[in-house]
């Protein structure tokens, strides 16, 4: 090490903030896992929905995903970044106050999510469900974090930025860009808003965001943590520093393009689908660069697996990362996506990443960190060992059951008889077949939680037995790297935080602009003859209920141009059919059938019975009951505001219908209520939410001029 400029300075690292984030990680992990287990049980055994609107699957699933991503993984990222950055940059964090604001701000955001999502305040955009006031709070807290982090880089004593820091920089910049662009919305009330994008635009922006949440919230920060904690735990340098440079730049440049692989065979323009697919396949290489670099770091140190079992977590995490990043490109191949999309295969895939990669890496990191932070030894290596094996069994059960369920269902959907008819025309047949696998998944999740509980006990005992009087130890650091004359341009690059950040931003901006910009002029893709009519005010009210109840979580509204799909649901969806949809509701999973052409398929009374008790019309259905929809009143007055915002966004409503939206809606509600009554349904439902929802469901696929 170069110490020619060797003035020894004594500094104190801020480990208090790291402790806070570590404990928050554990607390929110418990919440995320328990919500997940409850959701899994609801799918296996529908009465677990308990007829309670707040924990019904449609609202619980966003709560689970947000808790897992932003609360569990988020806090883990911050704990790791705050701990490793100070040491890598040889300086205390830029500002203790900003650190505290970041911590408490983030916890408040999580708390507000935990309150608002069960209450049904949702934008119905996956992983971006939180409503506009919380969106603003997220942006503010993220900026606080960014100032704190870049301030730390600025006052560093180690001139050269180690590879983990690059991954943190890419994370901070990209997450900010993704969140802001995807959250551009117009508020219509305190906790309601419409996104400015519609149809294919919204789909593209949403999945550019959604996929890059995986990329820059669940991959790059964790790779950064991996590049610090794996060498630390193994006590050897990373396998190849060269490889880390190559795979960093490849990864940040390629990942940003891959979003459209979530939209293969939809009405998204062909060029965007192809672009997404090609880049997704290319992404395999840089992803495996990371895995190889991590695993080979342990070359010559494998014996540590016996003496330091926490390394098992890192090895398993890297292996799951490798598997998930092989499977991702595989699923991005159009013909594979044709089978896997909308099925549980995707759920299996994402959990091998979330539980195996993010979960295990976090656990390894916590086992490494806690004894260091509390200046003690881990309470029990045996418990750690048990956590590992029980957790691993859980993840494997989860993954295998869901991939099996997904491929089974995908094959059943597309099975066609010799005479060209569907082999399984009833959707419910394909659901009943995989319910046993839902039980296996729930068991897998339970085992994962049992392992986690062992960890909680182990960490609790570790902290409890730690010496009570902890005195912060001053670290002796020496400025380094500042007296070299750089000959290498990449050395210069690492020496300049700002330049590096700008380059990282450019790398992600190229793909983002090329993909999103062309769809901003939506009319280019519209065939005038196919333009649809906008929703009536009551249908729009029903759509808000559809969004609130999270129906998109289990029902798609996008028929792909695939033979079996057209046989089952009707003609393939068009661009025009969702052109006024703010937000789009294509969905990404079919626990129930597609609804794009549901309108006029069944009488109103069928819908009423179905929503009150799905099993009354579809025996063995696993859908929850929605009794509260027949009890709660529709807010008709808010429709004036709703329609005027829609008009602002370019939906062709006339002035009269905007001004009298509530009157129009009540008129239509009366007609539907009268029809229900005439056919033997209950009286006096015209003010109830169920009628608005029926209006919306009956309008699906019925808005085209040619209908």
């Amino acid at each position: 090490m170069n110490t020619s400029n060797s003035v020894i300075e004594k500094i104190f690292y801020d480990d208090d903030i790291v402790k806070k984030f570590t404990l928050a990680t554990m607390i929110w992990a418990a919440a995320a896992f328990i919500f997940g287990l409850l959701a899994a049980l609801q799918l296996a055994y529908w009465p677990m929905n308990a007829n309670l609107e707040w924990i019904t699957f449609g609202r619980l699933r966003p709560l689970h995903t947000n808790a897992a991503i932003f609360a569990f993984a988020g806090n883990a990222i911050f704990a790791g970044i705050y701990h490793s950055s100070q040491r890598l940059l040889k300086t205390r964090m830029f500002s203790d106050l900003l650190s505290k604001m970041h911590f408490w701000g983030w916890q408040l955001i999580i708390l507000s999510a935990a309150i608002t999502l069960p209450l049904g305040y949702s934008q119905a955009k996956e992983y971006a469900e939180l409503e506009w006031p919380i969106d603003i709070a997220i942006a503010v807290v993220w900026v606080i974090f960014a100032i704190n982090f870049f301030g730390t880089i600025r006052k560093r004593r180690e001139k050269h930025m180690y590879v983990a820091i690059w991954f943190y920089i890419a994370t901070i910049i990209t997450v900010a860009v993704l969140h802001i662009v995807n959250s551009i919305e117009i508020p219509v009330g305190f906790m309601r808003s419409y996104p400015v994008y519609a149809g294919i635009q919204d789909a593209l922006v949403q999945w550019w965001y959604g996929h890059n949440a995986v990329a820059f919230f669940l991959t790059t920060p964790f790779l950064g943590l991996m590049y610090y904690y794996v060498p630390k735990a193994a006590n050897r340098p990373v396998y190849s520093y060269r490889l880390s440079i190559v795979h960093f730049w490849s990864l940040v440049f390629i990942y940003i393009w891959a979003g459209p692989h979530h939209l293969l065979y939809t009405s998204l323009p062909e060029w965007a689908q192809t672009l997404g697919m090609v880049f997704s396949i290319m992404l395999w290489a840089p992803s495996w660069g990371g895995m190889i670099n991590g695993l080979l770091t342990l070359k010559g140190s494998w014996h540590l697996l016996r003496t330091e079992p926490l390394i098992k977590f890192f090895v398993a995490a890297l292996t799951f990362y490798g598997m998930a990043t092989f499977e991702g490109p595989l699923l991005s191949i159009k013909s594979v996506s044709a089978l896997g999309h909308y099925t549980d295969w995707i759920i299996g895939h994402v959990h091998s990443g979330a539980l195996g990669w993010n979960g295990f890496l976090t656990f390894g990191m916590i086992y490494y960190l806690v004894p260091k932070l509390w200046n003690t030894q881990l309470y029990s290596k045996k418990l750690l060992e048990n956590h590992f094996w029980i957790g691993l069994t859980g993840v494997l059960l989860y993954y295998i059951s869901m991939v099996t369920a997904g491929i089974t269902q995908g094959l059943m959907w597309r099975a066609v008889n010799k005479d060209g008819t569907l082999m399984y025309p009833d959707f419910i047949e394909t659901v009943v077949r995989i319910v046993p696998l839902y039980w296996v998944r729930a068991l897998g999740g339970l085992l994962f939680i049992v392992g986690f509980a062992l960890m909680c006990y182990n960490i609790y005992k570790t902290i409890k037995l730690a010496p009570k009087e902890q005195k912060a130890v001053a670290q002796e650091v020496v400025r380094s790297g500042y007296d070299e004359v750089s000959k290498e341009s990449h050395r210069n690059l690492e020496g300049m935080g700002l330049t590096f950040s700008v380059l990282a931003f450019l790398a992600i901006a190229v793909g983002s602009v090329i993909e999103i910009y062309p769809t901003l002029s939506l009319h280019k893709y519209i065939t005038p003859a196919n333009i649809v009519d906008p929703y009536t005010p009551l249908e729009l009210a029903g759509r808000s209920i559809y969004i609130k109840e999270g129906c998109y979580v289990c029902h798609s509204q996008q028929i792909r141009p695939i033979v079996s799909e057209v046989l089952r649901y009707g003609k393939a969806s068009t661009i025009e059919e969702s052109m006024y949809d703010h937000p789009f509701q294509w969905g990404s999973k079919r626990t129930g059938p597609d609804l794009s052409r549901l309108g006029k398929k069944y009488p109103n009374l069928w819908h009423l019975s179905h929503m009150m008790d799905p099993r009354a019309v579809t025996p063995k259905s696993i859908m929850p009951n929605y009794p509260w929809l027949a009890e709660k009143d529709t807010d008709f007055l808010v429709l004036r505001k709703d329609l005027s915002v829609m008009k602002t966004l370019g939906v062709p409503y006339g002035d009269e219908i905007v001004a009298n939206a509530d009157i129009h809606a009540q008129k239509q509600a009366k007609e539907i209520a009268a029809d229900l009554e005439k056919n033997g349904g209950p009286k006096g439902l015209e003010k109830k939410e169920i009628v608005a929802l029926i209006a919306y469901l009956q309008s699906l696929g019925q808005k085209g001029k040619a209908q």
């Binding site: 040491r87 610090y228 060498p231 630390k232 050897r236 190559v246 730049w249 014996h303 062309p518």
Partner: protein, 60 residues
């Protein structure tokens, strides 16, 4: 202008050129990081996390 941009998406020559540029850039980066004079520098860089405080446990 926007329409022009879209036209290019069907232009195979342009996409081929794009692919070539990306590929050459990648090859360039690979060659660049493998230059001889980088060796000592990377040696130092990879030690940064291991120099920052007491070791996790004894080397075996």
């Amino acid at each position: 202008m926007k329409q022009d941009g879209l036209l290019y998406f069907t232009d195979t020559y342009l996409t081929a050129v794009g692919l070539l540029i990306f590929f050459l850039f990648f090859v360039g980066v690979v060659i660049w990081v493998n230059r001889k004079q980088g060796k000592t520098y990377y040696k130092r860089m990879e030690q940064i996390p291991l120099n920052d405080e007491e070791l996790a446990y004894e080397r075996i």
